[in-house]
Subunit: 309 residues, 2 copies
């Protein structure tokens, strides 16, 4: 049966090899990202965009997008342009966050930050260029077999996850709360729901939408993503305290230095770990209805809290 070919690569047993799965998908994403953005005139801006876009990273976001498409009966091909777009958006947010006027960071993923290599002006423009290209790429590269209304929904959701109602809004509240020691749990949740969870949610939900997920399935995917998004941030906060700069590939201990209120500073490290685990369990429970096809997304959820960088 030809129609089931696309599921052949899906893991069918409980002994799912996540490490091999992630490695294979990372490679697919690297190749796709490299091909999505060839160098053209004026070379400097493309090189600057590619410097940050191809600087490695775990590619968790695009992999989540592809995995959700497959779980919902779609293919890697139909989700790959969106997977590339979420990584472009994520990269753009890192470039702008690292600027002197923002977090003023010199290192990212073990390399000099974009503005340290190309200058502030080019770094600002590289972020703008990646942002614009993310939307162009979804619009022009998504296979024509995907109905256009689904692609347009993806554009709207990616844009919302990025804008003032998403990432940008989270960053603003984060900047406002810097140096304050009385930040409430409500505000902290707002920051992370918007700075981290919103884009992770868009990755998962857009993968589902491209594959034709129903309204009910989209709600399920949303709850899965919101839970792993918050767990992801709690683990990030813990790692900022416990990991070394070498492991992180970026400046460690930043939050303490900036006197930021974090989950560990509110709950302690152990309690934070417990909360993260509970969130992951809740996330996985949402996917039980999809049976064995949910294995990759469940394994990725557990990976998020076990990572050490």
């Amino acid at each position: 049966m030809v129609a089931t070919d696309k599921f052949k690569k899906m893991p069918e047993t409980a002994t799912f090899n996540l490490s091999a799965y992630l490695k294979e998908r990372q490679q697919l994403c690297e190749t796709a990202l490299d091909q999505a953005l060839p160098v053209s005139y004026p070379e400097k801006i493309y090189e600057s965009m590619r410097y940050s876009l191809l600087a490695g990273g775990k590619r968790v976001r695009p992999i989540l997008c592809l995995a959700t498409s497959e779980m919902m009966g779609g293919t890697i091909e139909m989700a790959m342009p969106t997977a590339c777009a979420v990584e472009m958006i994520h990269t753009m947010s890192l470039i702008h966050d690292d600027l002197p006027a923002m977090d003023n960071d010199d290192y990212r993923r073990g390399k000099l930050t974009n503005h340290k290599v190309y200058g502030e002006d080019i770094a600002i423009l590289a972020g703008d260029g990646l942002l614009a290209y993310a939307f162009e790429y979804v619009a022009i590269a998504t296979p024509l077999t995907v109905p256009r209304d689904r692609v347009l929904q993806v554009v709207a959701r990616l844009a919302r996850a990025l804008g003032a109602a998403g990432l940008v809004g989270g960053q603003v509240v984060d900047l406002e709360s810097e140096g304050k020691t009385d930040t409430s749990l409500e505000t902290l949740n707002y920051i992370h729901n918007h700075k981290t969870a919103a884009l992770l949610e868009a990755c998962v939900v857009c993968g589902g939408i491209l594959a034709g997920a129903s309204v009910e399935d989209v709600q399920r995917l949303t709850r899965y993503a919101q839970n792993i998004g918050l767990a992801f941030q709690i683990v990030d906060d813990i790692l900022d305290i416990t990991a070394t700069q070498e492991q992180l590939g970026k400046t460690a201990g930043k939050d303490l230095k900036a006197q930021k209120v974090t989950y560990p500073s509110l709950w302690g490290i152990e309690e934070s770990r417990v909360k993260a685990e509970q969130l992951i369990e809740a996330a996985c429970a949402e996917l039980d209805v999809f049976g064995e096809k949910a294995q990759p997304l469940k394994a990725i959820a557990h990976f998020i809290i076990s990572r050490n960088h």
Copy 2:
């Protein structure tokens, strides 16, 4: 006949009142922009976005978009979300261009620039937020009567006009040529085709696409837009020399001070004026085929070279 209602407002005589037309359209755009972006939490970012978006300006870009939609048999309603989006993109490019790391401007449209009021961090984020919202707004607010594939084409064209193949690329080459006195005419044309003409072209072409313009018509609209785009920039260069800061609402004489090569510096002011007029004539000739319905776009083209600010 109900079907012709939408043309009732179209000018039918040679005594087309451009001033009244522009005033009416500007008001429509102001209202639409104000309603498109209500203030929400976190207020600071929305206020910063609205500060620049609603800072006046001639609204030439959105008016071109609406006018082209109407000329091609479409309506104001179907083009208004795209018209708002082009103004959001234009505003975003101004906010980022004015930053200290870029052109370092204190005034814009007679008001303090965004970063002078809200700080550099918020100004960067306000630009990002406007950019993201431009795409979200086109995707969610364009009436469902417009086929989704047309809306997706608009997303792709707006993104391209903005990115490294458009505005961003033009800005990069502009930055590179600053302080150089041997910039070639070819480079100068590249800068302006990308910094100015690309977005003007997107305004016009997207207005046409939304209304269902044919491939041939899109080509015609493209040529019209490229010609007025270049004329627009030549006039900008002339005004930078001849107009006062009060007339411009921004710092005057910037190009001379930055030792920039401009059209007047290559051709002289009089020759530049003649070239601009020739470009406008060529632009209008492209629209002859559309008869009287082309009157607003032709009048706007002439307005571009007669303006004094």
